[in-house]
């Protein structure tokens, strides 16, 4: 904690902020100090004791870094299709490139002076507010759809060790606009704690497609918090591909604020060794005729641990809600563990809400069937696992991006 206080002062000093902004950060800083890293006594972290995970994986965690910008690892970049870029290198913005778009339609700001009156969400978001050193805000103007997808690269280099990186992005979609976004992690570093907060405001009739990809094996500990606000008739499609980091927790809080808005959260967790990943969702149906759909597929090998905590909240105003949630997990090895908490909290009577959760091994009969058709045991298993994961991947509505993710999983068709 001493280190944290020293580093906090360093961050404040290095950023040259307004007084209001400094006060805002101090308030958030104190909120974090009061709670510390969450442990398993906190209900939301029941299955993942972050405090313990950080202390057993990272020695002498620092909260401030003054690393020089190094060389960007070109291999991380996607060359399958043209796209707009925002590159964070070791937590600092190194490149913003919107060359495919109309400048007047896409606004970029990165003013760190913030003084939001946002309420306290959780200690990690407070930590992010207190320490964030680079921020970007993308506003897509009314009736504009981006020509190419936007990829936010989050790249770290080998030099980065035992450090906390805080990133913050706000995306604002004005009326009837649309954006395809990929958040891609390119980790070359080891044993860092990466804390990402993203906020999405989606106005009437706007469409956001958000794909979160963590595919490269690495030993970093990550937490990502997304807050999504949906207005009338807007759509948010989210896909989480969670397979790279040592620990990763994706938390999505989604508010369906007005009629006919809908949210989709699909994802796959595919783990080996002693990886530990969690997906937590909070869908708040706050208005009539809103819809949500969630499908999470997990495949666990070796000593891996997977967790899905999903909650559907239906306000008493939100009649005619349609909420669906399904989590399926395959436990392929003796020492794997899958924990789930699919939760419904419902205060309106004219609703259709259901959830399902299953976990178990591959179906022996299915393996036998495939083997009797001439496949080896290994091939049959692979086929079944791929099929199992494809269920979720097929929900992706953008073909280019779907193919990209399929390739990353290693599914060949």
């Amino acid at each position: 904690m001493e280190q944290l206080k020293v580093d906090f002062d360093k961050v404040i000093e290095s950023l040259k902020l307004s007084r209001e902004s400094i006060n805002f950060r101090k308030k958030n800083f104190n909120q974090f100090i009061n709670n510390g890293f969450p442990n398993k006594r906190v209900e939301d972290w029941k299955f993942s004791d972050l405090n313990q995970i950080i202390s057993s994986n990272i020695e002498n965690l620092r909260f401030y870094t003054d690393l020089e910008l190094g060389e960007t690892d070109e291999s991380t970049f996607i060359d399958k299709f043209a796209h707009n870029k925002i590159i964070f290198l070791n937590g600092i913005i190194s490149k913003v490139d919107f060359s495919f778009e109309d400048d007047s339609k896409v606004l970029i700001t990165n003013d760190l002076n913030q003084n939001e009156t946002s309420k306290e969400v959780n200690p990690l978001v407070s930590l992010n507010n207190a320490l964030v050193a680079s921020y970007i805000r993308v506003t897509v103007k009314e009736n504009y759809s981006l020509n190419k997808p936007l990829i936010i690269y989050n790249i770290t280099t080998k030099k980065l060790k035992s450090t906390t990186i805080n990133l913050k992005t706000d995306i604002v979609l004005e009326k009837n606009s649309s954006l395809k976004l990929i958040n891609l992690c390119g980790d070359n570093s080891e044993n860092n704690f990466i804390n990402i907060v993203q906020n999405f405001d989606i106005s009437q009739d706007a469409i956001l497609k958000n794909y979160k990809i963590d595919h490269k094996k690495n030993s970093n500990i990550k937490y990502s918090y997304n807050n999504i606000n949906l207005e009338k008739n807007s759509i948010s499609e989210n896909f989480i591909f969670s397979t790279g980091s040592k620990f990763m927790k994706n938390e999505i809080n989604c508010n369906l604020n007005d009629k006919y808005s809908s949210a989709f959260i699909n994802g796959i967790i595919n783990l080996t060794n002693s990886q530990h990943h969690e997906i937590k969702t909070n869908i708040n149906h706050l208005a009539e005729n809103t819809k949500s759909y969630q499908l999470i597929k997990s495949v666990l090998n070796d000593n891996a641990k997977g967790i899905y905590q999903g909650k559907i909240y239906v306000d008493s105003k939100a009649q005619k809600t349609n909420g669906y949630q399904l989590s399926k997990a395959l436990l392929l090895s003796e020492n794997t563990e899958f924990d789930g908490k699919p939760e419904l909290e419902i205060y309106a009577d004219d609703v259709k809400c259901s959830h399902g959760a299953t976990s178990g091994n591959l179906d022996e009969d299915a393996i036998f069937y495939l083997m009797s058709r001439g496949l080896s045991n290994q091939q049959s298993k692979e086929l079944l696992i791929n099929g199992f994961l494809l269920d979720a991947v097929e929900k992706i509505t953008d073909i280019e991006i779907k193919d990209l993710i399929k390739k990353m999983i290693g599914i060949v068709e």
């Binding site: 009649q319 436990l331 090895s333 020492n335 419904l344 205060y347 009577d349 609703v351 178990g360």
Partner: protein, 480 residues
């Protein structure tokens, strides 16, 4: 409306709302060592029992009341309660049913408990617990012949100390949560059942609980042991008179099934739920836990929860023996300002263990109904299997229905399935019934009974009929 009419109006809603004027012997108010000694002394308990209680009390001092649950309630003043209250006539214990205080018998008659002749007709052996003391145990002779022990807990402590010592607290230890520990310290009476090896209990055993005196808490303790290869079906019913204050009921129930044994435990809980505005009613904070200790054993819980201001209980199964089976069937109906937070825990430890959870929640008025459950499959529980289904029915948009299942799987050869749905009674269903000549209320009762069928079927015959009626009564006035 004058006071008398109001009283009558009240009585219409809750037909068990009468109280009986019987002189009571009470322990001094409050919770302290003296009271515990008083209880132990009045029950003529041996020293080991008193020591056990005091140990629990020591532990209780270090515990805090849990506060994670959904239904919040005002703080309970534990020092303002009477922990022991017995009808005075019990001081010189009656030898047979004829000697019982006729007023007591009348109370039970109003409740519809077949204490005497009815008992024989229905073939149900009843152990009735009135406030804190077990009043009479019917059918003893017949059970004795088979070697079955069915008596009050106090009697068991005196007559069968070896069994009580061995099993009491073996499933719900002294060191458990706040209310269980409180019960261990101050429990007053309850039922004790022992079924010897290979015996199939020829009749349904039954207890009836009733809280009569004011400002009393009821802390009964039930212990059922089914020895190898035996079978028993046990019923429990509960009522309480109407009072403005909230009364606490914190019981502990322990079941132990040895090799090849089967225990079926059914509850129809109809404690006073409080009035239309949520004043009064029972806090039903009960700990029920069964241990499938032996191979191929089976424990099945069935509950119909219609009463209580707050129901907070999770009848659980610890599936320790290989091939053991746990079942949980539940209907929880909440109306007006009632709150229920109920569910089960299935803890799979043995190989090839199976569990099944069927939960039906119905919420009307301003009520809140939560299913909270845990399915935990341990590393060594190979081929474990669980199926869970939770359905909720909502009536009106002032009430809530929630599902909070916790699922933990550490074994790759096991299989867990969970599904939950929430819906309302559809207009089409209602219209269809109306069209066939049923009025709105009959139609709702019919549809709700259909919704609950799967659970009602699990109840023994005599109870099923009562439960069906109860389902109808509890929802009266909630639609229309």
């Amino acid at each position: 409306m004058d006071a008398r009419e109001k009283e009558i109006e009240k009585l219409k809603d809750y037909k068990y709302g009468f109280s009986t004027d019987i002189e009571n012997t009470r322990a001094p108010k409050g919770l302290n060592e003296e009271v515990i000694k008083f209880i132990s002394n009045i029950k003529k308990e041996p020293k080991w029992m008193l020591d056990w209680r005091l140990k629990a009390f020591e532990r209780l001092k270090q515990l805090k009341e849990p506060n994670w649950q959904k239904p919040k309630y005002p703080k309970i003043d534990y020092q303002g309660l009477y922990y022991y209250s017995a009808p005075k006539s019990m001081d010189d214990k009656p030898k047979s049913l004829d000697e019982l205080d006729p007023k007591l018998l009348e109370t039970y008659k109003k409740l519809g408990i077949p204490l005497q002749e009815q008992a024989r007709l229905n073939g149900i052996a009843v152990d009735a617990v009135f406030d804190s003391v077990s009043v009479a145990t019917t059918f003893k002779g017949e059970l004795n012949k088979k070697g079955i022990i069915f008596c009050s807990m106090s009697e068991a402590i005196r007559e069968h100390p070896e069994l009580v010592k061995k099993y009491l607290g073996s499933v719900i230890p002294l060191t458990d949560h706040y209310f269980a520990t409180l019960n261990s310290a101050v429990f007053t009476d309850g039922s004790f059942v022992y079924i010897p090896e290979g015996v199939r209990c020829p009749m349904e055993l039954s207890t009836y609980f009733r809280i009569n005196a004011t400002e009393t808490g009821q802390f009964e303790r039930t212990l059922i042991i089914a020895d190898k290869g035996s079978y028993v079906s046990y019923l429990e019913g509960c009522t309480a008179p109407m009072r403005d204050e909230n009364q606490l009921h914190a019981a502990n129930v322990e079941l132990i099934a040895l090799d090849d044994a089967e225990i079926k435990y059914s509850t129809v809980q109809n404690w006073y739920p409080g009035d239309k505005d949520g004043v009064g009613g029972i806090y039903n904070f009960v700990t029920k836990r069964g241990l499938c200790k032996g191979k191929n054993s089976k424990i099945s819980w069935t509950q119909v929860e219609t009463g209580s201001a707050i129901t907070w209980k999770y009848p659980s199964c610890i599936l320790k023996g290989d091939n053991s089976v746990g079942e949980f069937y539940s209907i929880a109906i909440t109306n007006n300002h009632q709150k229920a937070d109920t569910g089960t825990k299935m803890i799979h430890l043995g190989k090839n263990t199976k569990s099944k959870i069927i939960s039906k929640g119905i919420s009307a008025g301003f009520a809140d109904n939560t299913y909270r459950g845990l399915v935990d499959i341990a590393r060594n529980a190979d081929n474990a299997r669980n199926f869970t289904q939770c359905d909720s029915l909502l009536m009106g948009n002032k009430c809530g229905a929630h599902t909070v299942p916790y699922i933990k799987n550490k074994n790759s050869s096991s299989n867990i399935e969970h599904e939950a749905t929430t819906s309302k009674i559809s207009e089409e269903q209602l219209f269809y019934c109306n069209q066939r000549g049923l009025n709105q209320e009959e139609a709702v009762s019919l549809i709700v009974n259909g919704f609950c069928k799967e659970v009602l079927q699990q109840l023994p015959m005599e109870f099923a009929v009562e439960a069906q009626k109860l389902v109808g009564i509890s929802l009266e006035g909630s639609v229309g």
